[in-house]
């Protein structure tokens, strides 16, 4: 049960490392060693790739490996290039064009102008300019990122998707923040198989620049989680890889936070094929046993998402998530003009530290075992895009959660609510692009600590009109919580919500017993009882004073 030990150790050592801007936070071992091979999901393949002639060669680059793959897998490049993993573009059903290449988020902001760093996690090679689509040659697809089973394939943190190869420039980091080793491409190519959770996790656990920074429910804790952390992914539980739920068809993956199945289709039976996996697709729409409590719990499923009760807290398993990022304070330097780093946040479970201030990035706050924010959710989010006008006097919602209690398709969902303070264009009242990463430029914020230059360069890189004046605006960004499902015994207690000022207090549109005992009727009822008590006591007192028992028939 100790598979994936190396990545865990590496993740623990370097989990807080945010590559780029010279952010190695922990003294790394002198010679970084790659992780050993992870245990793969159940192997049903009929091919052993180590026996393929075309893979018996010394590959000099990632694209060379891809070229070899494509000699047999003739359609894979075309399939991949149409996927969101490659396009970083998504047409939402609300008519918005979303995706990493388009949106501004409340973490590192925007890809444009920061390409080689951000595109280190692109499922391709060499996308170094956001003003163009991703590279179109078929060998630009990175097969190994998702199919390497040797465990030692990785991507350089600043290499636009390319792996670190021999000789590795000293100080190079991987996408998980570890000190990079030289990837053996031949070993990787001969190891390929079905995607394991490490393949997904090496990018998705480190979104936002570090371990669990972004999602809150996706962290290195999920490589080998305790059963209390994730009942589905724990080796002591179902030991599911990501692809058990995120089913795929021809390289198109189900389950995106841009398009969430907020309520499963009641017309589909459990186990019936779906476009995207949901809890109900295995557990049915009446998952609780048909006893009194179970029946009542089943009555909840049309208004409360499974996740709401079964993920009582996110960022479990000892890996905190970033809950606040105030960019406005970035750029402050010490007396010697050197960047400052303060690590005042201490994990309540591991005692590990996290940055609370960095000159490159501003102020942070963190949370572990965080109670989610709740909202009615129909599965759609609407973004405040860089082209949208904002009202800087209010908190800007980077993405608005769509849905309400009455539309018949929304349910109450848990979210991580990220609090931000980010740059905006004062003149045009629009979110501003910023150029943060760029070791060789004299405008990047992380190396030059100059906001005016960083924003001007960011706007230019994105091709956006800029008024020349910027400010900072408070923002909220919402991340649906769906991973880290706890064992049934740890599901949320009823009274977490069924209580005055419970977790769903103020979430209009649903009657909940236990939340308003002092409503008008409650007060009226109390008055009636009080009047009866008063009458009875008064009556009894008068009888006492009068000294008569009264009422005997004699």
């Amino acid at each position: 049960m100790r598979f994936m030990f190396r990545p865990i150790a590496v993740a623990l050592l370097f989990g807080i490392g945010l590559a780029g801007g010279g952010l190695a936070e922990t003294q790394a071992p002198a010679t970084p060693t790659p992780p050993s091979a992870p245990i793969s999901p159940a192997n049903t393949t009929t091919a052993d790739h180590s026996k393929f002639d075309i893979l018996q060669q010394t590959f000099k680059s990632g694209p060379e490996v891809t070229a070899a793959c494509l000699t047999c897998h003739t359609e894979a490049d075309d399939q991949m290039m149409h996927s969101i993993h490659f396009q970083w573009k998504y047409e939402s059903s609300a008519g918005q064009t979303l995706g990493k290449s388009v949106v501004i988020n409340s973490f590192c902001g925007n890809v444009a102008g920061n390409e080689a760093r951000c595109t280190s996690c692109h499922a391709g090679y060499g996308w170094d300019d956001m003003s163009s689509p991703p590279p179109q040659q078929s060998t630009a697809v990175d097969c190994l990122a998702c199919h390497d089973r040797s465990g030692q394939y990785t991507k350089s943190a600043t290499g636009a998707g390319h792996p670190p190869l021999d000789p590795v420039k000293p100080g190079t980091q991987t996408i998980t923040g570890a000190l990079a080793w030289a990837v053996d491409l031949s070993k990787a190519a001969q190891s390929v198989g079905q995607t394991g959770r490490d393949n997904c996790g090496n990018c998705h656990f480190y979104g936002g620049g570090g371990n669990n920074v972004k999602h809150g429910d996706l962290s290195s804790a999920l490589y080998t989680p305790e059963i209390s952390v994730d009942v589905h992914m724990s080796p002591d539980g179902q030991n599911f890889p990501c692809s058990t739920c995120h089913v795929s068809d021809q390289h198109q993956w189900a389950g995106s936070r841009y398009d969430v199945t907020a309520a499963d289709h009641p017309d589909l039976a459990s186990g019936a094929p779906r476009d995207s996996a949901s809890c109900e697709s295995c557990h049915s729409e009446a998952p609780h046993p048909n006893m009194i409590a179970g029946l009542k719990l089943n009555d909840h499923v049309n208004v409360v998402a499974c996740q709401t009760c079964h993920i009582p807290e996110f960022a479990r398993g000892g890996v905190p998530t970033k809950t606040l990022w105030d960019w406005s304070t970035a750029g402050r330097l010490d007396e010697d003009g050197k960047p400052i780093a303060v690590s005042d946040w201490i994990s309540p479970t591991t005692g590990g530290h996290r940055h609370t201030y960095m000159s490159q990035k501003g102020d942070f706050d963190w949370g572990e075992n965080v109670a989610p924010y709740y909202a009615w959710f129909d599965g759609q989010v609407e973004y405040t895009l860089p082209t949208d006008t904002i009202d800087p006097t209010k908190v800007v919602e980077i993405n608005r959660i769509k849905g309400d209690a009455t539309d018949g398709k929304s349910r109450i969902w848990p979210f991580k609510r990220m609090e931000g303070r980010q740059a905006y264009d004062v003149g045009f009242s629009k979110l501003a692009y910023s150029h943060v990463w760029g070791p060789t430029t004299d405008t990047a914020l992380w190396t030059n600590f100059d906001w005016p230059k960083a924003i001007e360069a960011g706007m230019k890189a994105a091709g956006a009109e800029y008024s020349g004046e910027f400010g900072f605006v408070d923002t909220h960004m919402y991340w649906p919580i769906t991973h880290m499902v706890a064992p049934a015994k740890d599901a949320m207690d009823c009274a977490e919500c069924h209580a005055e000022e419970g977790r769903l207090a103020g979430l209009a549109g649903v009657y909940m017993p236990g939340t308003h005992s002092t409503s008008l009727v409650g007060i009226l009822g109390r008055l009636i009882v009080f009047a009866a008590l008063l009458g009875v006591i008064g009556h009894g007192l008068i009888r006492l004073i009068a000294g008569k028992k009264g009422g005997s028939h004699e």
Partner: protein
Amino acid sequence: MSKRQVKVYPRFERLWHWSQLVLIVTLAVTGFGLNGMYGLVPFRAAVMLHTIAALVLLAVWIFATFWLLTTGTWRHFMPRIEGMLAVARFYAFGVFKGEAHPYHKIYWRKHNPLQAATYFVLKWFIFPAIWGTGLLYLTYNFWEPLPNSGFWLPIIANLHVLAAYVVVTFVIIHVYLLTVGHGFRHHVAPMVTGFDEIELTPEQEAYLDQNEPWRLKG
């Protein structure tokens, strides 16, 4: 006329009464907890207890209604105006002066008019209101697809709670009135032993002696 110890509460009726006491107290304690008044009982346990107690109480009521109808004892609960004013006046004034209770229990009429009226309202309005709203509340998800169900649910729930407060009010007055007259113990005893002192006409006495001797003591 003679006073005799007569069995006015047969075993079923006593069982009915005390099971109601246990169930109604259970329902009130769990119910007001579910309503959010206090956190004495864990919510999940309270839901189960409340539901089970309600279903058992419903079953008891169905049995009791059957029993009342088939034994003719339903007559005890029919209200009448006659004598009500005298009883009301007694509780308002007479009781303080040590007057005798104006109502004399008779064999076929064990409740005084005010009592009968109270039970009539309780059995015909309050109890049906509380179990009607309770059943609707419990089965909400079956009728939820109907139009405006979200509008009706809070109304039903609030009526349920209001009826519960009225039942509590009844219990308070009910228990208090046991202290009036012969006193608490004397009034509770018949519901335990089944026997109460009743004035019987010679004809009633003769009939009971002849046909239902088990009803008479001593």
